[in-house]
C-alpha cells in the first residue's frame, strides 16, 4: 500500500510538463540532433549496404559469408551497439550515428541482398552473356529490376532509424534520448514529461513522413543534406584513431570472472522473465482493448477513443516506458516487464483489432441470427475465429520482446542489459564484450526458436 502511494506521488510529480519558453528553445537542438543522427546513420547505411547487397546479389565469391556476417550483426540490439559506440567514439551524436550506421548497414544490406537474390534471373543472364563485369550487372540489371522494392523498404528503414535514433540516445549517444535520461536521473520530471510529449509527436511525425515516403520515395533524398550536415557538425569527440584502437583492443578477449560467470544464467533468466512477463501482460491488456477497437464489435466512437490510447502506448518506445516505470515502480525486472507490456499492448492491440475485424462474416452472421447477445457473439464467434492470427502476432512479439528485454535492462530494469551497462560504466571492457556476446546469443536463439515453432505450426506464410 505504501509503495503504491509512493508510486502515485512520483507519478504526479511528472505533471505539469515544463513548457517554459527557455526550455522549449533549448530542446530544439536535441530534437534536430535526433533527426540528424537518423539521417546520417541511414546515409552511411545506404552507402555501405547497397554495395554489400550487390556483392551478394551478383553471387560474387564468398557471398554466403557476407550474408552470414550481416545476419549476425543484425541480431545485436541497437542499444547494445550504441553502448559499444559510446565506448569507442565517446559520448554524443557521433556515437549515435555510428551505432545506427552499423545496425542499418546490416539491415539494409541483408534485406536488399534478399531482394537482389530474388530478382528475375533471365535479364541478368543476358547481361552477363554480353561479358559485362559484375558492377555493370548490378547497375544496369539488379538495381533497375528491384527499384520499386528498394525504395519502399528504404523509406521504411528510415522510419525505423528515426525511432531508433531516439532510443540510442538513452546511453549517452546524443539527441533527445540523452536529454530524457538526464532529466529522469536528475529527478527533473516535468522536463521529462515535456520530452516524452515531444518524442511522441516526433514518432507520429515520422509515421506520417514514412507514409508519404512510401508514396513518393524521392522524398528520401533529404537524407543527403541532412545526414552530411549532421556528420560535419558532430565529428567524433574522442575519435583519435589510436584511442579507438586501444579501447577496442581492451575489449578482447571477452572475459568474465568466476563470480560474474556464475551469475550469468540468473541474468539471462531474468531477461527472459522480463520478456515473457511483458508479453503476457501485453496479451491480457491487448485482447479487451482490441475488442473495444474493432469496428464490428463496438460503436465507432468507442473505437476511435480506444485506438488513440493504443497509438499513444505504441508511440512511446519501450525504453521510455522503462524510464517512467523505473522511477514509479522502482528499479528491477518488474519495471522492465511493465515497460514491455505497455508498449506491446499498443502494438498487439492494433494488430488484434485488425484480426477481429477481418474474421469471416458468415459464421458471425449465423450467430447473430440466433438472437445471441453481443458478448456471446464475441466469445463464440469473433474471438475463436481470430485465434490463428492472434497466436502468430503474439509469437512474433515474444521474439521481439526478448531483444527488447536485453535493452530495457540498461536503464535499470535488471537482467543482462543492466550488467552490460554497469560493465561499460565501470570500464570493465572485457566483461562488457562478454555480455554483448551473451546478449547476441540469446537474441539469435530466440529468433531460431521462434522460426522453428512457426514452421512446425505452418505459420510462416502469415506475416505481421
Amino acid at each position: 500500500m505504501h509503495a503504491l502511494t509512493l508510486a502515485w506521488h512520483t507519478f504526479l510529480a511528472f505533471f505539469p510538463p515544463d513548457l517554459s519558453p527557455s526550455y522549449l528553445r533549448y530542446v530544439w537542438l536535441p530534437v534536430l540532433q535526433t533527426i540528424g543522427m537518423a539521417s546520417a546513420g541511414m546515409l552511411v547505411a545506404l552507402c555501405l549496404g547497397i554495395p554489400l547487397a550487390a556483392y551478394v546479389g551478383t553471387r560474387a565469391p564468398g557471398w554466403q559469408s557476407v550474408v552470414g556476417v550481416l545476419s549476425a550483426l543484425r541480431a545485436i540490439p541497437d542499444l547494445t551497439l550504441a553502448i559499444l559506440a559510446v565506448v569507442i567514439v565517446g559520448l554524443g551524436p557521433a556515437a549515435g550515428i555510428t551505432a545506427l550506421a552499423v545496425f542499418y548497414t546490416a539491415m539494409v544490406g541483408k534485406v536488399f541482398a534478399e531482394l537482389f537474390l530474388a530478382a528475375p534471373q533471365a535479364p541478368l543472364e543476358s547481361l552477363r552473356s554480353t561479358g559485362a563485369p559484375r558492377l555493370a550487372v548490378a547497375i544496369f540489371g539488379l538495381i533497375p529490376l528491384t527499384l520499386a522494392d528498394l525504395l519502399t523498404f528504404g523509406s521504411y528503414a528510415f522510419e525505423c532509424a528515426m525511432r531508433a535514433s531516439v532510443i540510442v540516445g538513452a546511453v549517452g549517444a546524443g539527441g533527445i534520448g540523452t536529454e530524457l535520461v538526464g532529466a529522469v536521473s536528475g529527478l527533473d520530471y516535468p522536463r521529462a514529461t515535456t520530452l516524452i510529449v515531444i518524442l511522441a509527436l516526433l514518432v507520429t511525425f515520422v509515421d506520417t513522413l514514412g507514409w508519404f515516403m512510401r508514396k513518393n520515395p524521392r522524398l528520401a533524398l533529404v537524407l543527403f543534406p541532412a545526414g552530411l550536415a549532421t556528420m560535419l557538425l558532430n565529428p567524433p569527440q574522442v575519435f583519435v584513431l589510436r584511442h579507438a584502437l586501444v579501447t577496442f583492443a581492451a575489449m578482447f578477449p571477452p572475459l568474465l570472472d568466476a563470480r560474474a560467470l556464475a551469475a550469468l544464467p540468473v541474468l539471462l533468466w531474468q531477461t527472459l522473465e522480463i520478456a515473457v512477463g511483458g508479453t503476457i501482460l501485453a496479451l491480457l491488456l491487448a485482447i479487451p482493448l482490441a475488442l473495444c477497437a474493432a469496428r464490428n464489435v463496438v460503436h465507432a466512437v468507442v473505437v476511435a477513443a480506444v485506438r488513440r490510447v493504443l497509438d499513444i502506448s505504441r508511440a512511446v518506445p519501450e525504453i521510455v516506458w522503462g524510464l517512467i516505470f523505473v522511477v514509479t515502480a522502482g528499479i528491477g525486472p518488474l519495471a522492465g516487464a511493465l515497460a514491455l507490456g505497455i508498449h506491446s499492448a499498443g502494438v498487439l492491440g492494433k494488430l488484434f483489432a485488425e484480426a477481429f475485424e477481418n474474421v469471416a462474416a458468415a459464421p458471425v452472421r449465423a450467430l447473430e441470427a440466433t438472437g445471441a447477445k453481443r458478448l456471446a457473439i464475441v466469445a463464440f464467434g469473433i474471438v475463436p475465429l481470430a485465434i490463428g492470427p492472434l497466436a502468430v502476432h503474439t509469437m512474433f512479439r515474444l521474439e521481439w520482446n526478448v531483444r527488447a528485454a536485453t535493452v530495457v535492462g540498461m536503464i535499470g530494469a535488471g537482467g543482462i542489459g543492466e550488467a552490460l551497462y554497469n560493465a561499460q560504466q565501470h570500464m570493465h571492457y572485457q566483461s562488457m564484450t562478454a555480455y554483448v556476446v551473451a546478449t547476441w546469443l540469446l537474441v539469435v536463439l530466440a529468433d531460431v526458436a521462434g522460426e522453428r515453432v512457426r514452421r512446425r505450426l505452418g505459420w510462416n506464410n502469415e506475416t505481421t
Partner: protein, 245 residues
C-alpha cells in the same frame, strides 16, 4: 404463423427493387420450397424474415409481432424464434461440435451463462447437444473439432444448432447447393421430417425443381423480386418449374 405482407426491399446501390410487393403466409408444420433463378430475391426474402435487412414498405410478422419494427432486445427475442440454416459455411471452425450446436441457445442465455458454458459445459447442456446431434444422425461427433467435419456433416451440425434454438420458423437458404444428390435427399428428408414433428414453418430455397416437388407441400416461384406463382405441389405444372433450375 409467419406472414409476409406487401414486402418491398430496395438496396441503395441498385435501381430495381430486390423484392417487390411480396405476400406470403406459412403455417406451423407447413413446408414451403422457394424456387427461382439466382438473383431472383430468395436470399433477400430470407434476410428480411430474419430482420437483417431494411424494409422499404410492407412487413414481416411472426405470430402478429412485426420483425422490421423490433430493435435491440426485442429483435433478439424474435430472431430466437426464427432459425436460419445457411449453406454450411457458417460454423465456427475453431470451436468443437457441441459448442457450435449449443450456440443455438445463445439467444436465451445470459452473457455470463454463455461464457461459463465455453469454460465448463454442464451435463444437461452436453445432453441437449447430444440429443440434437442424435436427431440429425451424427451423435458420435459430439466432441470433434468442427474443422474436421465433411460438408454433409457440417450441414447436419447447422441443423442441430437450429434445433437447439427451439424455433417456430426454420429458414434454410439453399441447404443442399453444395452437396451430392444422395446427401441432398438425406438433408431435405431430415428438414421436412423435423418441420412436421415439431410443427415448424419451414421455408427452404432450392435450385432443383424435382426435389421441391418430392419433399414439400407448397412451391413458391420468385423472379425479379416478385412472386410469380404460389401453389400446392399437386397443382404445379412441370413447365412452371423449368426456369428454376
Amino acid at each position: 404463423m409467419l406472414s409476409i405482407v406487401d414486402l418491398t426491399v430496395r438496396y441503395p446501390t441498385q435501381t430495381a427493387p430486390a423484392l417487390e410487393s411480396v405476400c406470403l403466409r406459412v403455417e406451423g408444420g407447413e413446408r414451403v420450397a422457394v424456387v427461382g433463378p439466382s438473383g431472383g430475391g430468395k436470399t433477400t426474402l430470407f434476410r428480411a424474415v430474419n430482420g437483417s435487412v431494411t424494409v422499404q414498405s410492407g412487413y414481416v410478422a411472426l405470430e402478429g409481432e412485426q420483425v422490421g419494427r423490433a430493435r435491440g432486445a426485442q429483435l433478439r427475442a424474435l430472431r430466437r424464434r426464427i432459425a436460419v440454416i445457411a449453406q454450411m459455411h457458417d460454423l465456427v471452425d475453431r470451436l468443437t461440435v457441441y459448442q457450435n450446436v449449443m450456440a443455438g441457445a445463445l439467444g436465451r442465455w445470459s452473457s455470463l451463462h454463455a461464457l461459463r458454458f465455453l469454460v465448463s459445459p454442464s451435463k444437461a447442456e452436453l445432453g441437449e447437444a447430444r440429443s440434437a446431434l442424435e436427431r440429425v444422425g451424427i451423435p458420435e461427433k459430439l466432441r470433434s473439432r468442427t474443422s474436421d467435419l465433411s460438408g454433409g456433416q457440417r450441414q447436419r451440425v447447422a441443423i442441430a444448432r437450429a434445433l437447439v434454438q427451439r424455433p417456430s420458423v426454420l429458414l434454410a437458404d439453399e441447404p443442399v447447393a453444395s452437396l451430392d444428390p444422395v446427401r441432398s435427399e438425406q438433408i431435405l428428408a431430415l428438414l421436412c421430417g423435423l418441420a412436421r414433428e415439431r410443427g415448424l414453418a419451414l421455408l427452404c430455397s432450392l435450385h432443383q425443381p424435382d426435389l421441391a416437388v418430392r419433399y414439400f407441400d407448397r412451391v413458391v416461384g420468385l423472379r425479379h423480386g416478385r412472386v410469380v406463382f404460389d401453389r400446392p405441389v399437386a397443382q404445379v405444372a412441370p413447365e412452371q418449374l423449368v426456369f428454376a433450375s
